[in-house]
Subunit: 401 residues, 2 copies
């Protein structure tokens, strides 16, 4: 067996993750464990706010707050002026969606694996404004069919192409850069949901070629809950795209009947922010960059691959993940169990996991013929020994019914 | 001089406010100082999240999280099912605004004192959807002219009436219940921005008669930054009003091409929340209820009234607040100074204050003939001695130029 990346740093990385050695956290696709520097950053700022006042603390920490944009820019390979802080990935996503100049009869092209909240937002847009939502078919390997995407863009000229980089309910990685190349060819607006990919994969917005990219802080980035960010391309900014509801942070009230929007992605932010959490997210992004996205990605996906190998072929257990490249999300169907019951059995063995339901992923789970899946999502701070323990527990619980 | 309300509790209340006795915080209209139980609640939950996982901590604290709705319901005099948690007051406000079924050519009636971010949102709606924004005139006492509001509703049938209860840049209190009675008479949707009123005044949604009411946690409620809530009336819920962008928290994906919205105000929430902050806001709301909104309101406005008396008539200083009832926001024009310079002088004397600019309040400040105002906002935990010190400092700085 080869040595995994980051093995030499693991003792320190685990010491900075203030979790009991008895607990195995394989729910990083739900929320990652915040490392100690993130928690300390958040609590320090809260205490400062309580001591000197919320706005006064913001002023005192102005340069650290500004450094949030630099950190995210480094993470994504863009300019800090393309970065907006948001309350969540969905908040980022809907702000981007609200900026798209849809007209009645327009279409929106997405995949069969896009995130439930995106799908609901598309349907809501459809109801309200008469937008047609079209789903590109999957290719044989489970990824979206690039040739079909190209044909649909050429023939139907959708106003927007919206793709989830890593679907929340499977280990699939969509070919977002290949889709981006097609979008650029046809000058089509392109929105990427990177909620499950930032922090576990290298995400380079120039390589992807997107106009917007939304992300959360709480998952593989190991930031605080209630944080997210939005990338807005210079092209989208220059085109004057702005969110439907812009406020005094995104715009200046320049005359009684007029306002002027910010030049930068600040246009997509709101005046009020949880500054303690924003500083915590900046700390989380810097932490990930220091550990290194390349080794993070290699190690997390290697652990997931080992887990898949250990579970594949076990009686009553089916690994569901498809795609050419697979990531740190492992989804498994288990015969004869209900999702919540199965998860509780793992919890009783000090293993954190997640459950995905058919109603979270109606197209993909329907295609796979399952009504729920167990989601196991290790991260780089996990170990081979933990992978083995989790596999053993899954096999044991699956056989116990 | 009469004894102020809460005087007997003051030592305890101040002990629970972990601020140096040397600092005078008169910037509660910016952000109030979180009391110790709020800070402890937030940090406790953050530490739990880091220890056992974000979703696992949410599950472990499920009943405390549910109690958020009970606390806000008690505060506003409504059912918990009418309460939604949001990322800020503006977030709450725009979710409500996005639920209003505007059609091209509709009008929206507001005041000359409504909050800048609301005014920008109205203009953005106007640009995008051809909505006409109309501003009701003020009465002689500075409040919006109720007779004019009634006539404008009768004649122009606006799709929405939107009023800021306490404008952020003055001590004015708008007659929101009287406006509500008119809205009810004409069955007109009514949105109240209570960002500056919750926590300093008794706010009763039944008495106001509104369909929506938005609020922040960070100001007079003394909650964490990055929190807010929205009240949605049973009438608005029954009418099926829902935000434009609804997600998997607000709706269930019930069939491939359809979703079903929640029955309650949860419809207006997003899946992801900063649960540590949400618990902190619940603690802040309970804290305010325990202290008592009636004595809070009496004491804070009495301190403000004393400050106005001390400043009124001083050379080069003009108290700007109007209205029949005035609250804990004191706004003052000072001759010969720039706002930021003046504020820095107060900061140097360990006094926190705020500055409002013409570009934050184009109608009202234009009417008052000022391009900036000093905003001094005491709260119930402040003292008469502090009011005197602040007044002395303002007079001293004003005279020093």
């Amino acid at each position: 067996m080869t040595t995994l990346p980051l093995e030499h740093d693991l003792a320190r990385l685990r010491a900075e993750t203030p979790t009991s050695e008895k607990l195995i956290h394989f729910n990083n696709a739900g929320a990652g464990l915040m490392p100690e520097p993130v928690v300390r950053t958040v609590t320090d700022h809260l205490l400062l706010e309580a001591e000197i006042g919320g706005y006064e603390a913001e002023e005192a920490r102005a340069s650290e707050i500004a450094a949030f944009y630099d950190a995210v820019a480094t993470l994504l390979g863009c300019s800090p002026s393309s970065v907006a802080f948001t309350a969540s990935a969905t908040d980022a996503y809907t702000r981007a969606l609200s900026a798209v100049p849809f007209e009645r009869g327009d279409s929106l092209l997405t995949t069969r694996n896009d995130y439930i909240s995106n799908q609901i937002a598309f349907m809501a847009l459809g109801r309200r404004y008469g937008i047609e939502v079209i789903h590109a078919p999957d290719a044989a390997d489970g990824r979206v069919d690039i040739a079909a995407v190209e044909a649909m863009i050429r023939n139907q000229r959708p106003r927007l192409v919206a793709v989830t980089h890593v679907p929340t309910d499977s280990g699939l990685v969509q070919p977002v850069a290949e889709i981006g190349a097609v979008c650029r060819e046809y000058a089509t607006l392109y929105l990427v949901d990177a909620c499950q990919s930032v922090g576990q994969l290298s995400v380079d917005v120039a390589e992807i070629g997107c106009d917007f990219l939304s992300a959360t802080g709480r998952k593989f980035l190991r930031g605080p809950r209630g944080t997210g960010f939005l990338y807005v391309s210079p092209r989208a900014l220059a085109a004057g795209l702005e969110p439907l509801f812009i406020d005094m942070r995104g715009a200046a009230w320049t005359e009684k009947q007029g306002y002027t929007s910010a030049d930068t992605a600040q246009r997509f932010e709101e005046w009020e922010s949880p500054y303690a959490l924003k500083l915590g997210l900046a700390a989380a992004v810097r932490y990930a960059i220091e550990v290194g996205l390349e080794p993070i990605s290699l190690r997390a996906s290697a652990l997931a691959a080992e887990l898949r190998l250990l579970l594949d072929g076990v009686d009553g257990v089916r690994v569901l993940d498809r795609g050419r490249e697979r990531c740190a999300i492992v989804t498994v169907a288990v015969d004869g169990w209900k999702g919540d019951d199965f998860r509780r059995e793992l919890t009783a063995r000090s293993i954190n996991s997640g459950i995905s339901l058919l109603e979270h992923s109606r197209f993909d789970f329907n295609d796979k013929g399952v009504d729920w899946a167990l989601r196991l999502s290790p991260h780089y701070y996990n170990t081979r020994a933990e992978v083995e323990k989790v596999a053993t527990a899954v096999v044991e619980v699956a056989a116990s019914r």
